[in-house]
């Protein structure tokens, strides 16, 4: 494993259960995440993002393949891995019966730390929680609770921090605050952050590199700019009135692809501005019922790679069924 990689995943698969009723949650995934980066796993619900975190943190065993975190094999050297990682859950998990300081002390004991008070005080100062450290965390606001949870994850100076959907369910202001914190801790403490998200704008704003995951497979990886450059086209969504021949769309200059979606069409075009001129010269304006134009973004990357948008795809309909199946088969 190269010295500069904090996480290396080689051909990892995860299957819940066995036999005909088993569920393949991850399908031969490989990834290398360099030290000191904020790396995003972006994908819709049920894509396999949280499963990757469970495997890398040792919560769930790998079915096939190998994974190393901080230089250690997650299966054979699990305790060494767990001493070098921090974890921030989607939902805040704190002991409400205890104060902020007591939660930190508990975490220090779990991490077997002896000299932790100075670091804890520094973290409390950084997260502006010093004044409330002796109050029960049940009296904290959502933002304060999230900050304390991140402080717990950083207490033992981990090499890698896993953040599983850290902003899910938060209001816009708290989400923005969290974004600043992620950027800040990465800069201030030099940790590698592996972040999962199904918010495209979040991954775009925070991550140095992103892997797009869908149905248990990594379908693209790169910096946000690299991924957007792959699209190299504008996306036009269009609904025409009944009786308009859609075949005309594929004949227009600059149209790279036409795909049906519901009762409308999705087109990849070289330039949306030029396309509009050609469209209006071929189709009467009153035959166009709806039109929207999208410049290259991570959303359009996903659309191009999968033919679906986040959250409107067929597998998403089966997410509940998928999770219910996993719950039954969980090992």
């Amino acid at each position: 494993m190269p010295e500069e990689d904090a996480i290396v995943i080689r051909d990892v698969s995860k299957r819940y259960g066995s036999g005909a009723h088993s569920v393949l949650a991850l399908d031969h995934v490989s990834l290398s995440i360099p030290k000191g980066t904020v790396f995003g796993l972006l994908g819709p619900n049920g894509a396999g993002k949280t499963t990757i975190i469970k495997l890398l943190t040792g919560i769930s065993p790998i079915s096939e393949g190998t994974a190393h975190v901080a230089g250690y094999d997650v299966h054979r050297e699990s305790l060494k891995v767990r001493a070098r990682i921090g974890w921030v859950a989607a939902e805040v998990i704190l002991d409400d019966d205890f104060s902020g300081w007591e939660n930190l002390r508990f975490q220090a004991r779990l991490q077997d730390l002896t000299e932790w008070e100075e670091r804890a005080n520094a973290l409390l100062r950084y997260f502006e929680l010093s004044d409330r450290k002796d109050d029960k965390v049940s009296t904290y606001s959502t933002g304060m609770r999230k900050k304390l949870e991140i402080a717990l994850a950083l207490l033992h100076e981990p090499m890698v921090v896993f953040m599983d959907e850290p902003t899910i369910g938060l209001d816009v202001a708290t989400r923005r605050m969290l974004w600043d914190i992620v950027t800040g801790i990465h800069r201030e403490f030099g940790v590698t952050v592996l972040l999962t998200s199904h918010y495209i704008e979040e991954a775009d704003a925070l991550c140095d590199r992103i892997a797009i995951i869908d149905q248990g497979k990594i379908i693209a990886e790169g910096t946000p700019s690299e991924l957007k450059a792959r699209v190299n086209a504008d996306i036009v969504e269009l609904t025409l009135s009944d009786g308009t021949d859609p075949k005309v769309l594929s004949t227009l200059a600059g149209v790279q692809e036409v795909r049906a979606q519901g009762n409308g069409w999705i087109l990849r075009v070289e330039s949306s501005e030029t396309f509009l001129q050609h469209l209006l010269s071929s189709v009467p304006a009153d035959h166009i019922r709806r039109i929207s134009i999208e410049k290259p973004s991570l959303e359009t990357v996903f659309l191009q790679l999968t033919g679906r948008r986040f959250g409107q795809d067929e597998p998403a309909k089966d997410v509940k069924k998928f999770y219910a199946q996993i719950r039954r088969l969980r090992v």
Partner: protein, 255 residues
């Protein structure tokens, strides 16, 4: 490992004292047995000296109630573990260098310690009810405490081992309801076992509560002390702890 055990163990014990309702009910629950069951049966015992060996039924009942209350201690330990799984706390613990075995040990011993809190309250209540306790020497008090601690540890370990693969909060409660009846009534805790049918007698002879009750009753009523019961109970506690440790290390489910 010591630091992690101490962190989890102290959390388990301290949490009891942070919740006044839980603490209050934990203390009052065995006291209610003395108050209701004891008062109801006292008049019968007073006329049946030959059956109970004493006319003071509360004195007869006290060791039995202390023993059966250690059974419920185990249930609380298992419920606290399920709660940790459901709220994700178990994951937080296990994404640190803490092993499942250490989690089991801290839960089991934490529950047993919590059970001991009931003992002084019960003794004060019994004394107020006219149970003479002043004649018991310090060594016997210590032996009684050790007996109850090992029984609580044994029951906690059993409950934790059985519920290790479960994440359903109903499991410990249903299990406790299922075993409470045979453990309580097929034992010497409430009445002497002499009049039991053969099958209940058989259960009572396999029941740790019987042995704990008989030892405590010997101390309270000044009878000949069956010291073998103490060694047997220490063995029961240690065996359950070892079995529970390996079962939890293998099958403790995280979520």
């Amino acid at each position: 490992m010591r630091s992690q055990f101490w962190g989890l163990y102290s959390r388990e014990v301290v949490r009891t004292f942070r919740n006044p309702l839980v603490l209050g009910l934990t203390l009052v629950q065995p006291f209610m047995w003395l108050a209701f069951f004891g008062s109801a049966w006292e008049q019968i015992a007073s006329k049946n000296l030959g059956v109970f060996g004493t006319t003071n039924y509360i004195a007869f009942l006290l060791p039995g109630v202390l023993s059966t209350s250690m059974l419920s201690v185990g249930m609380f330990g298992a419920m606290s573990t399920i709660q940790d799984k459901r709220f994700g706390f178990m994951k937080r613990i296990l994404i640190t260098p803490t092993t499942k075995g250490v989690i089991f040990l801290s839960k089991s011993l934490g529950s047993a310690t919590r059970g001991l809190v009931q003992i002084p309250v019960m003794l004060v209540a019994a004394a107020a009810w006219g149970v003479p306790l002043g004649h018991i020497p310090p060594l016997d008090w210590a032996a009684w405490g050790v007996m109850l601690f090992f029984m609580a540890m044994g029951f906690s370990s059993l409950f934790l081992a059985v519920t290790a693969p479960s994440t359903d909060w109903q499991t410990p409660a249903v299990l406790a309801n299922f075993v409470t009846m045979p453990f309580t009534f097929a034992s010497a805790s409430l009445v002497p076992t002499a009049g039991f049918p053969w099958w209940m007698k058989l259960i009572s002879e396999l029941n740790p509560i019987t042995y704990s009750t008989l030892l405590g009753r010997a101390f309270v009523l000044g009878r000949s002390v069956p010291w073998d019961n103490l060694w047997g109970m220490i063995g029961f506690g240690v065996i359950c702890l070892v079995v529970g440790y390996f079962v939890s290390a293998r099958w403790l489910r995280v979520e």
